[in-house]
């Protein structure tokens, strides 16, 4: 039996070897992947034991960890949760982290590489580790004005500092209260999450940065920019503006808003076409410019890019494959319909770039990060993403946008004593556009001669006015309120 006993001992060795290999596989080779699995709440658990830094807006904490007497030690609380949730995101035991709570996690929990001096001090002095505070660029008055302006309507507002790209306001409706998700009861938090996931209008998804809408007539700014940049057009160039335009190669006639004709002569200047937002003129103009010129201009403004603000936004899209667009599709894109979709952030960036003399600034929402001793450990410096249009073109566009607010489709954005530049949009959407009310837009900036704020507003499905809504009637007043809030400081 000793032979078989020895063989059995070898079998036992093989069995143990298998266990050692499988354990090593999980604990060593596979550990990183498993540790980052979203269902692995250990990392969050560990972080609940730390004093997490606050998220600060205008000197007030909008997200704060308060000491509580439970197994974790700290409870994350959000002041004005719904107002700021598209930026703050949430920090949830049951549901993970999101938005700034996710993107700035290393600083908020004090584990960032840059904070090693603090950690060393904590270790030496026996002080409990504390996270850094993250200060946002948001102007609380502008944020509140945007929130109030949207009221119960669905949509989004984004306001930027055109010179720096700093986000001054970012509101999305419907919104959610991150306090519901931050509950330490995984059951409550899980239920709240499920409820939000299934809620009408998808409140967890920020309309301002994660949702892309057809930009409608606000895209005419890009069409105009492409025309001016081509060198073949000036604001005074007379272009065709027929009462109705049949898309090339199709029998589909496209008219103007409410079926009006733009000009009795069927022709008008480019500046006038933009001022009254003449669809038929821009259909033909886009067709003449061609897909390449349109696509290139859109990309220069930021289309096709995701921005890290510091959390990632959705990319706006001119067309998935511009090379194979039909002429009809190119024509439609000229009025921001068809394949074109844009986030409200992107639409605001177009106005901001025009306001900034043609230079596109990278959008950002985190101004400074300070350690617990209030020393600045990180500061965002404005970054240029390049030039979208020449300074001359930017000036011409500004003049044209001024006339939109002065005497065109956007008069309700006027602010007394301040020159406002802007553009309205009323975008059809859905499979059958006759059955859905249009999304209504306004984008612009003020003051036109020394821009302090650029803004984009979208209200879904016409908001309270439904089918009667236009960008001028519904969105422009909201934009006006936000710009006033910034200008009146």
């Amino acid at each position: 039996m000793n032979t078989t006993l020895r063989r059995l001992a070898s079998v036992v060795m093989v069995m143990f070897l298998a266990l050692m290999v499988s354990t090593t596989w999980i604990q060593f080779f596979h550990a990183d992947e498993l540790n980052s699995d979203t269902r692995n709440i250990r990392s969050i658990y560990a972080e609940y034991g730390r004093a997490r830094g606050p998220i600060v807006v205008g000197g007030e904490a909008v997200a704060l960890s308060k000491p509580v007497d439970d197994e974790f030690g700290y409870q994350r609380e959000y002041a004005d949760g719904k107002l700021y949730s598209p930026l703050t995101g949430f920090f949830s035991l049951a549901n993970g982290t999101f938005a700034i709570e996710h993107a700035e996690n290393d600083y908020l929990n004090g584990q960032a590489d840059a904070l090693w001096v603090d950690r060393l001090q904590n270790m030496l002095t026996g002080r409990d580790p504390e996270g850094s505070s993250v200060e946002l660029t948001v102007d609380p008055k502008a944020q509140q004005a945007a929130w109030d302006g949207l009221g119960d309507q669905r949509g989004a507002v984004v306001a930027l500092d055109p010179k720096t790209g700093a986000i001054l306001a970012l509101v999305s409706k419907p919104s959610y209260d991150p306090n519901d998700l931050a509950s330490h009861s995984t059951k409550e938090a899980g239920e709240a999450y499920t409820k939000l996931l299934n809620a009408d209008g998808n409140p967890l998804k920020s309309n301002a940065t994660a949702d892309a809408y057809p930009p409608g007539s606000t895209f005419k700014l890009i069409t105009t920019a492409a025309a001016l940049e081509s060198g073949d057009y000036t604001p005074d160039t007379v272009i065709d503006a027929p009462p109705s335009y049949t898309l090339t190669g199709t029998s589909t006639p496209v008219g103007n808003f409410a079926g009006t004709s733009c000009a009795s002569a069927g022709k008008m200047t480019l500046a006038d076409a933009l001022r009254i937002s003449c669809n038929t003129a821009f259909l033909g103009l886009a067709g003449d410019l061609g897909a390449d010129a349109m696509d290139e201009q859109a990309e220069k403004f930021g289309y096709g890019d995701k921005f890290q603000i510091p959390f990632s936004t959705a990319a706006s899209v001119y067309d998935q494959d511009p090379d194979s667009m039909s002429t009809a599709q190119v024509e439609l894109s000229g009025i921001g319909q068809g394949s074109v979709i844009a986030t409200p952030l992107q639409v605001a960036m177009v106005s901001a770039a025009i306001a900034n003399g043609g230079e596109v600034m990278e959008p950002y929402s985190v101004d400074t990060v300070r350690d617990p001793q209030l020393e600045v450990v990180r500061e965002t410096s404005p970054t240029s993403l390049g030039r979208a249009v020449s300074e001359k073109t930017a000036g011409q566009l500004t003049e044209m946008m001024k006339s939109v607010v002065e005497s065109g489709s956007g008069t309700s954005a006027q602010i007394s004593g301040v020159q406002v530049a802007g553009k309205t949009g009323t975008a059809q959407h859905g499979a059958d556009t006759s059955k859905t009310d249009p999304h209504v837009w306004f984008t612009g900036f003020a003051p036109a001669d020394d821009p302090q704020v650029a803004v984009a507003v979208v209200v879904e499905d016409g908001g309270d006015l439904g089918g009667q809504a236009t960008g001028g009637s519904v969105s422009a007043p909201i934009a006006k309120a936000v710009m006033e809030a910034v200008l009146n400081g």
Binding site: V12, S22, I26
Partner: protein, 519 residues
């Protein structure tokens, strides 16, 4: 290591000096240091102070170590010196983890109960070593053990006392105490198999045709293996316990192979089990569901399903969180895994002690198992060889089933990690296993051919249990065919209980006319 036995394969070198068991003493001190410092550390980490039970658990662990050491010195001085310290180490680390989980208010973790069962298990083991002077005495219980084993297996199926917990019906509840009879059944079966096989090994090995180089057994000799196969499948199907069924069947196949040296038995066994398991997986939904969870644990649907892969995925996360060196005692989150203190104590230990700690624990188990197998090789009687080999192997197999289940080598089952997982049945049963191994190893290493005062020449008046054993097969229930029951064996100080190797001093169990090795 024994200073006495240099090469246990050969007949032991005669010596009169009783080992002082200093190696064991030294190793015990190390094991106790590891355990007691762990008790202190979990308290410091979790609550910031020494745990309330610190002195109690430390004293109990020290007490059983000292008691066992002293009893071994007195009653089994030649017994293996590594096994006891290894067990104390594992038991101590397990207690520390359970204490740590209890301090973190983990529902169900009960360090006090585990401590009591540790003490009880150790006391039973000590008594066993004290009163059982010769393991061959157990052989008379061969058929009693079979009945007891089968009885224990069906116990959970009985109404009133049977309990179904988490889908597996492997518990009985008697007077408020929960028992897992399978833990004890494995010992009973090991005794039965050893006694049965030592008697019938030749018939099983030699009768039958040779096909394709495999010596096939005769159909009528297949009877016992069919019965055990059916019993294992019954456990699988009716008690929904893949682990226990695998354990019983693996034990039997391994011991059959040990006894007959016929690989054909292993093949037949594996084919039968695989076939049975496959059929069960396709016919019974709960077995099939286990398979799905095994193969695709990270599938979100299975993860969220009731009875799905949540536990094993969380256990895997715990292991991953531990990484190479672990979080340290009390610094991790092992309680996030359901049953972190019993079925999943392996992942809990992995999280806080890391890969380093788990490899050390695995090696400690390997040490116990290999020492057991070594004992089997060294001991001279066939029954002892089979029993020690079987008990050592069943521990290895249990470890493989538990750890393999958690690390997904095989489907997850409900077996417990010996000495570490919380559970009275498991602790008591495994301490009994250790007592038996220690007793057999004492016999294996004890110098035998010494001329002792009062003894006659070899082959003299001493009983020969092997010859006696040959009649066991005809006396089910164990009877009393022994001329001189081993219970009456000469007391300490004399050695006439090993006459057999004087007759056949080489390796194996001599069985009179047919005896010896047949290769």
């Amino acid at each position: 290591m024994s200073a006495v036995v240099e090469n246990p394969e050969r007949t032991v070198e005669p010596t009169e000096r009783r080992p002082a068991r200093l190696a064991e003493l030294f190793l015990l001190i190390l094991a106790l240091a590891a355990g007691i410092s762990a008790f202190a550390m979990v308290g410091r980490s979790v609550t910031g102070e020494l745990p309330a039970d610190f002195w109690a658990v430390s004293l109990v662990l020290t007490g059983i170590s000292v008691a066992a050491h002293v009893v071994l010195r007195l009653r089994a001085p030649w017994a293996d010196q590594v096994i006891l310290p290894a067990v104390v180490l594992l038991n101590g680390l397990g207690l520390a983890m359970i204490l740590r989980l209890q301090l973190a208010d983990t529902q169900g973790a009960d360090a006090w109960a585990q401590m009591m069962y540790t003490a009880l298990g150790a006391v039973i083991a000590i008594l066993l070593v004290w009163f059982l002077r010769d393991h061959r005495w157990i052989r008379r219980l061969t058929y009693t053990a079979m009945l007891v084993g089968l009885g224990l297996v069906v116990l959970p199926l009985l109404p009133v006392i049977g309990r179904e917990i988490n889908g597996a019906r492997i518990w009985v509840n008697i007077a408020g105490f929960s028992l897992q009879p399978a833990e004890f059944a494995k010992i009973a079966f090991a005794i039965f198999f050893a006694g049965y096989l030592v008697t019938n090994r030749d018939t099983l090995a030699l009768a039958g045709k040779k096909v394709l180089g495999l010596q096939l057994p005769r159909i009528r000799d297949l009877g016992p293996i069919i019965i055990v196969w059916a019993a294992s499948l019954a456990v699988l199907v009716f008690e929904r316990d893949l682990g226990t069924s695998l354990l019983f069947f693996g034990l039997f196949v391994a011991m059959l192979y040990l006894a007959t040296e016929r690989f054909s038995w292993v093949l037949i066994g594996l084919v039968l089990f695989a076939a049975g398991a496959l059929v069960a997986a396709s016919v019974f939904p709960h077995v099939g569901a286990r398979m799905d969870v095994w193969l695709h644990p990270f599938d979100n649907e299975l993860y969220n399903a009731v009875g799905g892969s949540y536990q094993i995925v969380q256990g895997t996360f715990a292991l991953a969180a531990g990484g190479l060196f672990g979080t340290g005692w009390g610094e991790g989150y092992p309680y996030l895994v359901p049953y972190a203190f019993s079925d999943f104590i392996y992942s809990s230990l992995g999280e806080e002690l890391g890969l380093t700690g788990l490899l050390a624990i695995l090696l400690t188990y390997l040490l116990i198992v290999q020492r057991g197998l070594r004992t089997a090789i060294a001991v001279r009687d066939g029954f002892g060889k089979l029993l020690a080999g079987g008990l050592a192997f069943v521990m290895a197999l249990q470890l493989f089933v538990v750890v393999g289940g958690i690390t997904r080598i095989i489907p997850l089952t409900g077996l417990t990690l010996p000495f570490m997982a919380q559970g009275g049945s498991s602790l008591l049963a495994n301490w009994i296993v250790i007592a038996l191994l220690l007793r057999i190893s004492d016999n294996a290493r004890r110098p035998s051919a010494l001329p002792v005062r009062g003894t006659i020449a070899q082959g003299g008046a001493m009983h020969d249990p092997i010859v006696v054993g040959a009649h066991d097969g005809t006396t089910p229930g164990g009877g009393v065919p022994v001329r001189r029951p081993a219970a009456d064996a000469p007391s300490r100080g004399s050695t006439p209980s090993h006459p057999t190797e004087a007759i056949t001093p080489h390796r194996d169990d001599p069985r009179g006319t047919t005896g010896g090795e047949h290769l």
